[in-house]
Amino acid sequence: MHGTLPAPIHTARDPVSEHGFAVAGAALVADCSGALYWPGERLLVVSDLHLEKGSSFGTRRVFLPPYDTAATLARLVAVVARYQPACVVALGDSFHDGGGPARLAPSDRDTLAALQHGRDWIWIAGNHDPDRPENVGGVAMDVLRRGPLTFRHEPGLQAAAGEIAGHLHPVGRISRRGRVVSRRCFVTDGTRLVAPAFGAYAGGLNIRDRAFARVFPTLGFTAHLMGADRLYAIPAARCV
């Protein structure tokens, strides 16, 4: 079933978010929503949606506001409307657990179907959702290779040129004039990239954490911190 696409949400200041960089020679655009766009292939990447995280906690009697899926999808609707991609790649951990797809509220299911209408949709497997999600459309894959780029959920242990991954939920933190600002961010050294989590309830991991040292052995990488309507490129070494 295909519904119509809900109208994108317009904020007071409509984001102008062209923030480009290259990874393994591919020219990419980071969007301040947390999505990554590859104009050459009209391909949009969103990582770690963690849909139905709220309801997952609910089964353990922790009653988080059950609006996270709707909130995440609404932001996705807005960014899809902006770029009109031919293909959307959900980079793994798209659902918080294996039961997630079955718990989708009917309205959220409709939104998802409308998003998928007229374009390719690829669910990359993640550690939270290793199995193919049922009844949510799209194609399931472990890894997608296209041109110089390889899309997978967890960053590989070897230096992998052209790898676009998620999983780590990078957050960059700066300290200035006695105040600390911390934001989700893209991290890249020009060879590979880790995308921020897109999900409303996805937490974050400081890019100075050990886990990132396995992906970027030196601090010679850049964090692109998500601002209200633009991104800020800050060298990892200056993050705290």
């Binding site: 009697r61 922790v62 200035r176 006695g178 105040r179 600390v180 309830y201 800020y232 200056r238």
Partner: protein, 846 residues
């Protein structure tokens, strides 16, 4: 109230008093008479007036079995326990203290008369430290008198034992009531009291309190409320002790314009310590305590035993200081509000209060800690750290002379606490909503609770209270066939017990002393020195130094939620900017300070340097009348400054700063930042504020219009980190987020992260949710101090005076000096990010 004759006291007690060479005090006998006629009472007594003994005397007399005829019949049935003969029946007296340590000390003090009079009375404590086996035994075989804390009471009431344990209760003694009722702990305790009123309708209450501004509020707290009328406990006033001897240090040194360290007066403070037996040196923040302690030791040529005490220090360390104090082995302790309450120390003969006293009631209590013999005056000396603080100290000295109190008004019961209580009730026994509602509104803070709010809280506990009914299948509590709410699974009760309480600390990290990093690896092990706020650590880089636990420490690394530090040789540490212990200036003192400023005749009592400062201000600019708000504008270094003097405390000023900059931004004056202190607020802009005001393009009336608390506030709250912190506390107390799960403690860092995300989602999708309502209510009095800001805007309406100046005025100097010292306010996150990114550009172009 007439004191009954001494003869009302049983012989054994009379002999005991006589043996000590004491006379029972009038208020002690009055409380005895109150108890005999079955009446609840609030006892207001200064420190050192034998308040605790007064509270327990009726219980001891009753339990001794010698109650006079006509009194409450003592329970006479005896039963053999094998080795002893005991009275049958349960608990007689329940004592609640805000401090665990206080409960333990009171028990010790109580055992003395019990032993000396050989009374058949068993006294026991129950705190978080009581072993499980003892708690078990207390449930089967309760003592006569149980001393405990509000959290422990909530825990007992959330078991099936409540009715059995408390059914026999005759008396409830609430110590330090003035301090308990000011917080959410007081809300929780009031709900537990309401439960006790129902379980033990025969019990009467005794509240023990220092002097407060509105005793009626405490009197209501002590008895069940009925709709339409305010029931109150009787008031018993102890004879006032000798008036305290309070003065302001008349320094020979130059008074600083700003800052809080009072370093200028150290030699004078040290001389005072030397000339007294034992001195308590109170300061307002933990970082001040560290600084003063450090500096005092620098000049401590006589090696006097001077110790440090504040809430961040390790508990064992604090206990050591307290024990040394009790044993009279110390000459001085530098301390924060960590010693505002607590056990009496006889030997303190001087209290020094460094910095602004912030409120007259707090000051009176601190000074009361000197000389606990109530008939001799306590001696207190105020040491202002800057010129504005001189005004505040001088207002406080006058207030103390009049014994004027400024305790905050009574609380309206918080909804998050109610939610926690409702779950606790369900853990104890199934309940009908109608019954529990009737019980809850008997608690004074909840007397005006709406039925709808109550039902929302029940719904929140059951399934989260969401418009989208997503969690019905997983409900924590659900209704049975009779309509009674009961817990859905025993695990719910287990989790409730692990998370009970209303104290939500800031995110704290343990500080561990390690050897300095020699190789790359940081040595493990080493002693825990205490805890610091996580946000402070976030601003440190390895190698930075700071003062903590009386030492200069070097930050090494953050390892699994512990801050590794080593001893540093640096002399110039980066002082911790703990928030801990910062109190806002009380409304009452603020009004007095405004009066002093406005009335030139009052200046005669001020030190000459301060008088001169005000006179120059008068000449250069002006001083506001008591009802006015003065706004000064002046250009400085290519920026236009806008300074106002509301005297409403730092929190309210910060909120005002946030809202004013939004408005100045809209007026295209391009504000760059602001800084607030206790007395004033300074905003700087690129646009010419003075010109806009003079030409009428900007109106002060509109700028300070009360409508800023409407849309502007809402828009700002969406992003405010302070609001998120407030929400987090509510979410934890209400049980949305549990800090502790069976088997593991959820990392506090995880909790912080997720509550921010929850706040964002909830605010967008259900802005009227119970937790957001609770958070807004907290914001009104808490970190944002909205109520005070609102009152101020109403007060100054039509009384705002603009004074355009060529350059900075004397009155503005203190707040201007804070620029660069205090972190600059504003929701400047974006601009900080931009600066950081631009720095890079500059570097690249160099």
């Amino acid at each position: 109230m007439d004191a009954p004759a001494n003869s009302s006291l049983p012989d054994v007690f009379q002999r005991w008093f006589a043996g000590k060479g004491w006379q029972p005090r009038a208020h002690q006998l009055a409380l005895l008479a109150q108890a005999r006629s079955g009446r609840s009472s609030l006892l207001i007594a200064p420190t050192g007036a034998g308040k605790t003994l007064a509270g327990f005397l009726p219980s001891l007399v009753e339990l001794s079995g010698f109650a006079a005829e006509g009194g409450v019949a003592p329970r006479r049935r005896l039963m053999s326990t094998g080795s002893d003969v005991r009275r049958e029946g349960g608990l007689h007296t329940l004592y609640i203290s805000p401090l665990k340590a206080l409960a333990v000390d009171i028990a010790r003090n109580l055992e003395q008369p019990v032993a000396e009079m050989k009374l058949p009375v068993r006294v026991e404590t129950r705190t978080g430290d009581t072993p499980a086996s003892k708690r078990q035994r207390q449930r089967r075989d309760p003592p006569d008198i149980l001393l405990t804390t509000p959290e422990q009471l909530a825990l007992i009431l959330a078991t099936a034992d409540g009715p059995y344990l408390f059914g026999s209760l005759r008396r409830i003694v609430l110590d330090e009531l003035h301090s308990l009722v000011l917080s959410k702990r007081g809300d929780l305790l009031s709900l537990d009291l309401a439960r006790l009123f129902r379980l033990a309708p025969q019990a009467t209450t005794v509240g023990l309190s220092a002097t407060v501004a509105e005793p009626d509020e405490l009197r209501r707290y002590l008895v069940p409320q009925r709709s339409g009328e305010a029931a109150m406990a009787d008031l018993v006033m102890a004879e006032a002790g000798a008036a305290p001897d309070v003065s302001m240090l008349d320094t020979a040194e130059r008074l600083p314009w700003a800052g809080h360290s009072a370093v200028h007066a150290l030699d004078e403070i040290y001389a005072l310590v030397k000339s007294h037996n034992t001195t308590l040196i109170f300061v307002n923040t933990r970082s001040q305590a560290e600084r003063i302690f450090q500096e005092l030791w620098q000049i401590n040529d006589d090696n006097l035993p001077i110790a440090l005490h504040h809430g961040s220090l390790d508990v064992a360390q604090r206990r050591k200081v307290e024990d040394a104090m009790a044993a009279a082995r110390l000459r001085a302790v530098v301390c924060t509000s960590s010693l505002d309450l607590g056990v009496d120390w006889g030997d303190v003969d001087l209290v020094i209060n460094v910095g602004a006293p912030k409120g007259s009631s707090r000051l009176l209590q601190r000074i009361g800690r000197a000389n606990h013999r109530w008939d001799e005056p306590s001696k207190g000396i105020l040491v202002p750290a800057n010129r504005f603080e001189v005004l505040e100290c001088s207002a406080a000295v006058a207030a103390v002379a009049e014994n004027a109190q400024d305790t905050p008004p009574a609380r309206t019961g918080a909804l998050d606490v109610l939610a926690q209580h409702i779950l606790g009730c369900a853990c104890g026994a199934p309940f009908l909503a109608d019954d529990l509602y009737a019980e809850v509104i008997a608690a004074a803070p909840y007397a005006d609770l709406d039925r709808q709010d109550f039902d929302d809280a029940v719904d929140f506990v059951a399934t989260g209270g969401y418009a989208l009914r997503a969690y019905e299948r997983f409900a924590k509590i659900r209704q049975d066939a009779q309509g009674r709410w009961r817990i859905a699974h025993p695990a719910v009760a287990q989790r409730y017990r692990m998370n009970v309480g209303t104290i939500v600390e800031a995110d704290m990290l343990k500080v561990r002393l390690v050897r300095s990093r020699v190789s790359k690896a940081v040595a493990r092990g080493g002693r825990i020195l205490g805890e610091v706020e996580e946000y402070f650590v976030e601003t440190l880089s390895p190698g930075d130094t700071f003062l903590f636990a009386g030492e200069v420490l070097r930050y090494e690394a953050l390892v699994e939620n512990e801050v590794y530090v080593s001893r540093a040789t640096s002399e110039d540490p980066k002082v911790p900017s703990y928030e801990g212990g910062k109190f806002p200036l009380s409304t009452y003192l603020a009004a007095r300070v405004r009066d002093i400023l406005a009335d030139g005749r009052a200046w005669g009592a001020l030190p000459a340097q301060v008088r001169e400062w005000l006179e120059i201000q008068q000449w250069r600019s002006q001083l506001p009348a008591a009802s006015e708000l003065l706004v000064e504008t002046f250009p400085r270094a290519a920026k236009h400054y806008f300074v106002c003097y509301p005297f409403e405390g730092r929190l309210a000023h910060q909120t005002l700063g946030m809202l004013l900059t939004r408005r100045l931004e809209r007026a295209r004056l391009r504000p760059l930042g602001f800084v607030a202190n206790e007395y004033a607020l300074a905003v700087w802009c690129l646009g010419d504020v003075a010109l806009h005001l003079q030409s009428g393009r900007l109106s002060l009336a509109e700028l300070f219009d009360q409508d800023m608390l409407g849309d502007d506030l809402e828009a700002w709250l969406a992003e405010s980190a302070l609001m998120k912190r407030t929400f987090r506390a509510c979410a934890i107390i209400a049980g949305l987020i549990e800090r502790r799960f069976p088997g593991k403690e959820k990392s506090r860092r995880e909790v912080t992260m997720s509550t921010d995300l929850i706040y964002d989602v909830l605010r967008r999708h259900q802005p009227d949710h119970l937790l957001l309502r609770a958070a807004r209510a907290d914001a009104a009095t808490g970190l944002l101090d909205l109520r005070r800001l609102g009152d101020m805007l109403a007060r100054v309406k039509g009384h705002i005076v603009h004074r355009p100046l060529d350059h900075v005025s004397p009155l503005a100097v203190p707040v201007m000096l804070e620029i660069g010292r205090e972190s600059v306010g504003g929701e400047a996150s974006e601009s900080l990010l931009a600066e950081e990114a631009e720095d890079l550009v500059k570097e690249a172009m160099r």
